[in-house]
């Protein structure tokens, strides 16, 4: 009996020894496998569709990358893109976060230097999956830095590798800033935590470098420059609320880390032309300045403290802190009210979720800027939202600097994610890290409980049984363990399924099934964009709603009026006005803007619901925001937005309506329905049999999704004497234009005036 326990123990000792010896190798192997998993789970889109750039913004990034690969970094810097924002153009070098393109460019040049001539498109397509693997490694490092446990790191890496929310933005082909920015975000946090934990100036410098990469890649860097000051303030609160022995040491380390990070990081951030001096005076950066000053003062006081008496110090420090805080707040308020510092529209939307709805329709119109629903939280994060509180509990039970930071990161990003769907992306790594910590904690507790049930109660030197710590009953622990494993595997299945089914659609290619269940591709977008590319003049100007701007410049290589950059609201409003005006008025706007073709997206023929008629109200709102003669009410028939016979005449005669439904009443979309039945809106259209006078159908894709119209030239002597004055005549002062009043009053009455003059003639 005793022998058996002896062998048992020796086997146990042997196993433990072997495990300890091989643990680093296992760790590396598992991490490598997680990285590979992160890549392969993201290439569903290439397998099911093709190696193609997805959606909208990636097309611009791809186009810029092609330009960068050809012209080099300085070429990109100086690139004035005359193909977009006609006639204004866009200086790309100064209005872009170049991190993504530069990364792709460096990979491209590097591989070419190694004589591996890859295609720039493939670099762009596969960049996001590769960076997802890097993110998994960064999450491993961050979690390890927070908990000092590599098993938590591995679980976190596994979670972040397949978290659906992150996958939605990083599948192969989703070549967007977020693809590299999430890696940069997690990695910056890791390096900063390392700096905080070591108090090393070198790591502080590295953190600034990581921040530099983040700044170059994504506007979301503001999250980092705010969360770190908040974390430092929180550390002070912790010092006063739950003091610990090593607080002073930690604060000193933070002081070193942050000073290096802040000074060099801000300096680096200013090197990006798009950020420039915003790093000094924009409101997003104010917290970092304030905390820097505060830290300096605090450290100065601590230094002074060692020289004077306690009571004198207390008075001095109170005075000092009070004046400092009030000075900072006053200064910030002063700057804000005098307009020296400003929040960007998107940041204000984050602070006040109703802001955009009230003031900036162009931000509110984007679907990914909507508030997040509970279902998308669950779909995108799945069981991680159950494990996260466990991790939070663990972190806040005995908070260290790193654990406090992780908790803050989760809590703040939950808030941001609730405000905008898009920012679920920032939450995903936070939740993965926290859930990784939580699951690892649960595993540890459960396995400890099970293990202890096999072990003899340990005896101390006197032979008495030591008072056992309260443990979970082993049966419960076993059930709990099975349950956690089950949830993790369900998560893996869900994530794979979400990646394969929901997030791998390029959105420029649609797939559908016929009645026999055979899959077929609906390729209307590329059909039409390619038609534009091949069969229109090289300098043709295409007017479309801004959503399609990047795709048209990317795929058709033609000039557009507005695109997804949305930097000039007035210009977009002008296009919105053209779309919501009557044919005759729209024609004049088109003429003023040198428009050759008008492109609309129409889904009423083939059940494509993301079309321009559904987006049309936003065009009216944005147009009306600048040109008040466009009124949203005019487009509501019987109190609601509709396209059937009860729609208002304004709606039935506006350009968008006419271009979408031109000759639509001559086809039957459904056997049982009357001709002109719109399958998306589910009604019969209200205006039938109209002709177009100023526009001519130039191309319509096979399933009617894209319709392109040519702007006809004026007929001889048409409108010569009548319209000598400009409809969109620009006032001398710009301020009048933004007020919108006097300028377009003329336009409002223009048609009546013209009618009169025509009669007179």
């Amino acid at each position: 009996m005793a022998d058996q326990t002896g062998t048992k123990q020796s086997v146990g000792v042997f196993l433990q020894g072997a495990a300890e010896k091989w643990a680093p190798a296992f760790r590396m192997t598992i991490l490598l496998m997680i990285s590979i998993l992160a890549v392969i789970v993201r290439v569903f889109s290439v397998i099911r569709f093709e190696s193609v750039i997805h959606e909208f913004d990636p097309w611009f990034n791809y186009r810029t990358s092609k330009y960068l690969a050809k012209e080099g970094l300085y070429g990109l810097w100086n690139w004035f893109d005359s193909e977009s924002w006609y006639p204004l153009g866009r200086s790309v070098g100064g209005t872009v976060y170049p991190g993504l393109m530069t990364t792709a460019g460096i990979i491209y040049w590097g591989l070419h230097a190694l004589s591996i001539p890859v295609d720039i498109r493939n670099v762009c397509v596969f960049l996001a999956p590769i960076f997802a693997a890097f993110t998994a490694i960064a999450a491993f490092l961050l979690t390890k830095e927070i908990t000092r446990r590599s098993e938590a790191g591995l679980i976190a890496a596994f979670f972040v590798a397949i978290v659906p929310s992150y996958m939605s933005r990083s599948v192969a082909g989703s070549y967007d800033n977020e693809a590299v920015a999430i890696f940069a975000l997690v990695f910056t946090f890791y390096v900063f935590m390392k700096a905080v934990n070591t108090g090393s100036l070198l790591w502080g410098n590295f953190a600034a470098l990581a921040l530099f990469y983040m700044v170059s890649a994504w506007g979301g860097y503001a999250f980092i420059v705010n969360i770190i000051p908040i974390f430092i303030v929180a550390m002070f609160f912790k010092k006063f609320l739950r003091p610990a022995d090593d607080d002073d040491l930690v604060l000193r380390r933070i002081y070193v880390a942050y000073s290096a990070f802040y000074v060099i990081g801000t300096f680096y951030a200013m090197q990006i032309p798009f950020v420039g001096f915003q790093a000094i005076h924009s409101s997003e950066h104010m917290a970092s300045h304030g905390v820097f000053i505060f830290l300096q003062v605090y450290m100065f006081i601590s230094w002074v403290r060692s020289f004077i008496t306690k009571s004198a110090f207390r008075m001095l420090s109170r005075l000092f802190i009070l004046t400092l805080v009030s000075l900072l707040v006053l200064g910030f308020l002063f700057l804000t009210f005098t307009g020296k510092t400003q929040w960007s529209g998107r940041s204000l939307t984050l602070l006040d979720p109703t802001y955009a709805k009230k003031y900036i329709p162009i931000i509110a119109s984007v679907s990914e800027h909507q508030a997040t629903t509970w279902s998308s939280f669950f779909f995108d994060l799945h069981y991680l939202i159950i494990f996260t509180p466990v991790g939070l509990y663990y972190c806040l039970r005995k908070p260290t600097a790193a654990k406090l930071f992780a908790s803050l990161y989760v809590v703040l990003s939950v808030y941001f994610a609730s405000v905008m769907v898009r920012l679920l992306l920032v939450l995903a790594p936070a939740v993965s890290v926290m859930a990784g910590i939580g699951v690892s904690y649960l595993f540890r507790k459960f396995t400890q409980a099970i293990r202890s049930s096999f072990e003899k109660p340990a005896k101390d030197k006197q032979g008495r049984q030591t008072t056992q710590k309260k443990r979970i009953p082993p049966e419960l622990a076993a059930i709990g363990l099975i349950f956690v494993v089950y949830m993790c595997s369900t998560y893996a299945f869900h994530a794979t399924n979400a990646g394969a089914e929901s997030y791998s659609h390029p959105s420029i290619i649609l797939a559908s099934r016929d009645r026999n269940g055979n899959r077929f591709i609906i390729d209307d977008f590329r059909e039409s964009y390619y038609w534009l590319r091949q069969n229109t003049a090289q300098d043709a100007k295409i007017m479309s709603w801004w959503d399609y701007g990047y795709q048209i410049t990317g795929m058709s290589n033609r000039t557009v009026l507005v695109d997804n950059n949305t930097w000039n609201n007035t210009h977009i409003a002008t296009v919105g006005m053209a779309m919501s005006s009557s044919e005759e008025d729209a024609y004049e706007i088109c003429e003023k803007l040198d428009v050759d073709y008008v492109l609309v997206i129409f889904g009423g023929f083939s059940y494509y619901s993301g079309d321009d008629i559904n987006k049309f109200l936003w065009m009216v709102r944005i147009g009306g925001g600048v040109f008040p003669h466009i009124k949203e009410e005019d487009y509501y028939g019987r109190g609601q937005y509709r396209i059937d016979q009860h729609a208002t005449p304004t709606m039935l005669n506006c350009l968008m309506y006419k271009l979408c439904y031109y000759r639509f009443d001559e086809v039957k979309t459904d056997y049982w329905k009357p001709p002109g039945y719109d399958t998306v809106r589910g009604t019969e259209i209200g205006h039938k049999g109209f002709k177009l006078k100023r526009f001519e159908e130039a191309f319509t894709s096979e399933r009617w999704i894209v319709r392109i119209y040519k702007v006809k030239p004026r007929e001889n002597r048409d409108g010569l004497s009548i319209r000598s004055r400009s409809v969109v005549s620009m006032p001398e002062k710009l301020s009048e234009a933004t007020l919108g009043g006097p300028t377009f009053k003329y336009h409002k009455y223009a048609h009546k005036l013209t009618a009169k003059r025509r009669r007179a003639l």
Partner: protein, 460 residues
């Protein structure tokens, strides 16, 4: 004076070069021309009964084309019975309005004997759309100006020219013409002098899409690992009557057959039977409207491609079509000399009835191939050599670049490229990767074992 003498000498030499068949010795007894106008390419078949009226055997026959149309002739193929004959262009300064070819007869034509020659020509860009712009509903009609008599350096006894049109003509020169349905016949003209011509004008409906490949670049890349990658870049253009007026999806769709009649809806190609991994794309990605069928009975792969949008007149598109071939079927290793290889691939591309105006073929051989020779079944415009750098190439792969204008399906013939290549040198590239990784790991091992810190080694 010496100048004139020289000129005379040159003239004499030029004449002398064709002296074997002076116009006096041969006579065209019967000269039939059948012109097929079913497609955008003009197919001309000339059937000539030649008689030797001289007193010595004749070995060559002179064939002439009018100067103004000869630039549109892509191929001239003479036959005598079933045997195809040698043909070469000859210079004759005496007739600036004509281009002459010398056809070598299979057997010398004895005095008094007769033989029948068949000459097949393919012309391109001969028809011009009239009207130049048509609407969606219109038929495409074209105009052709063609010689109705026989343009031969010999005297002709009887000559007829037959035009086979796709439909009854809209208008044609009616003098000495008979029209039966869609066939218009001129002649018979009797006792015509040499080089007689009478251009007639035919206006007829032709709803074939007048498509042409403006530019084709084919790359054939040979890998001794067992694969031949073939990729064609094709710029296709419909040069028929341009579309004017509205392009309406209501009027033009798959079930309305009477609109857009001269539109290219699909094109057919035949690939080698062993072709695999066929792809069809353009600058912005896959074109999802194509299918390929491996046809066992015909021993080919049939490829049907549809453009992204149907090509109306004046519209164009770019295609990239590629596939892989196994080396077993196309690359031969010399039995005696294991370093000697011969590549047998087709010269042309695979679309039937469409011509390539400018055709470039690049044969990329493996890195290190030497003594590159080639053998072509017909003449081409130029051959150049260049280098191509692909994965892990150090000195570049040798490339043969063949260039030829006006390439037709006829040119899709097998040609040979032979070269010397050490089979073992395919292992260089894997070795490079192996070496790079080994070096990397060695470096890592070395770095892991070095200690760069100043202080004592830390205990973990």
């Amino acid at each position: 004076m010496p100048k004139a003498l020289c000129l005379l000498l040159v003239l004499f030499v030029a004449l002398g070069s064709v002296s074997s068949a002076t116009p006096r010795e041969l006579v065209n007894v019967d000269y039939k021309r059948i012109i097929d106008l079913y497609t955008q390419l003009l197919q001309l078949e000339v059937r000539i009964k030649v008689k030797n009226v001289g007193n010595r055997p004749v070995t060559t026959y002179l064939y002439a084309q009018p100067q103004n149309t000869s630039k549109n002739v892509a191929v001239v193929l003479p036959y005598e019975g079933d045997t195809s004959l040698q043909i070469k262009k000859v210079a004759r300064v005496t007739e600036p309005t004509a281009v002459f070819f010398e056809i070598t007869l299979a057997n010398a034509l004895q005095p008094g004997a007769t033989t029948e020659l068949v000459i097949k020509e393919t012309h391109f860009s001969r028809m011009e759309p009239l009207p130049r712009k048509i609407t969606l509903f219109d038929d495409q009609s074209v105009v052709l100006r063609e010689n109705a008599q026989c343009f031969s350096p010999y005297e002709t006894e009887v000559c007829t020219t037959t035009f086979k049109l796709p439909m009854t003509p809209i208008s044609y020169d009616t003098v000495e013409a008979t029209a039966r349905g869609s066939v218009v016949e001129y002649g018979p003209f009797r006792q015509l002098p040499a080089l007689s011509r009478r251009f007639v004008r035919l206006h007829y409906v032709s709803n074939t899409p007048f498509v042409v490949f403006k530019n084709v670049t084919r790359t054939v890349q040979v890998s001794h690992w067992g694969n031949i990658a073939v990729e064609d870049f094709l710029r296709i253009s419909n040069e028929g009557a341009n579309l004017t007026g509205e392009y309406s999806r209501v009027d033009y769709n798959s079930w309305a057959k009477n609109t857009g009649k001269a539109v290219l809806k699909e094109a057919h190609a035949t690939l080698p039977y062993s072709a695999s991994g066929v792809y069809y794309l353009d600058e912005i990605g896959n074109i999802s409207t194509s299918n390929a069928v491996r046809d066992l009975s015909a021993n080919i792969v049939r490829l049907r491609v549809e453009p992204r949008f149907h090509l109306f007149g004046g519209w164009s598109a770019n295609w990239v079509i590629g596939y892989n071939l196994p080396t077993e079927d196309f690359l031969r290793q010399d039995v005696a000399d294991s370093e000697q290889f011969v590549l047998n691939v087709n010269f042309g591309f695979h679309f039937d009835r469409i011509m390539a105006e400018d055709y470039t073929l690049k044969v990329i051989l493996p890195e290190g191939a030497k003594d590159i020779q080639y053998e072509l079944p017909f003449e081409i415009d130029s051959v150049t050599r260049e280098k191509f750098f692909y994965y892990l190439d150090i000195e570049g792969k040798p490339v043969l670049v063949f260039n030829k204008k006006n390439v037709l399906p006829f040119h899709n013939q097998v040609f040979k490229v032979s070269y010397r290549f050490k089979q073992e040198s395919i292992l260089i590239e894997p070795f490079l990767i192996f070496a790079a990784f080994s070096l990397f790991f060695l470096l890592m091992i070395l770095l892991a074992r070095l200690n760069f810190s100043f202080g004592k080694e830390k205990e973990d």
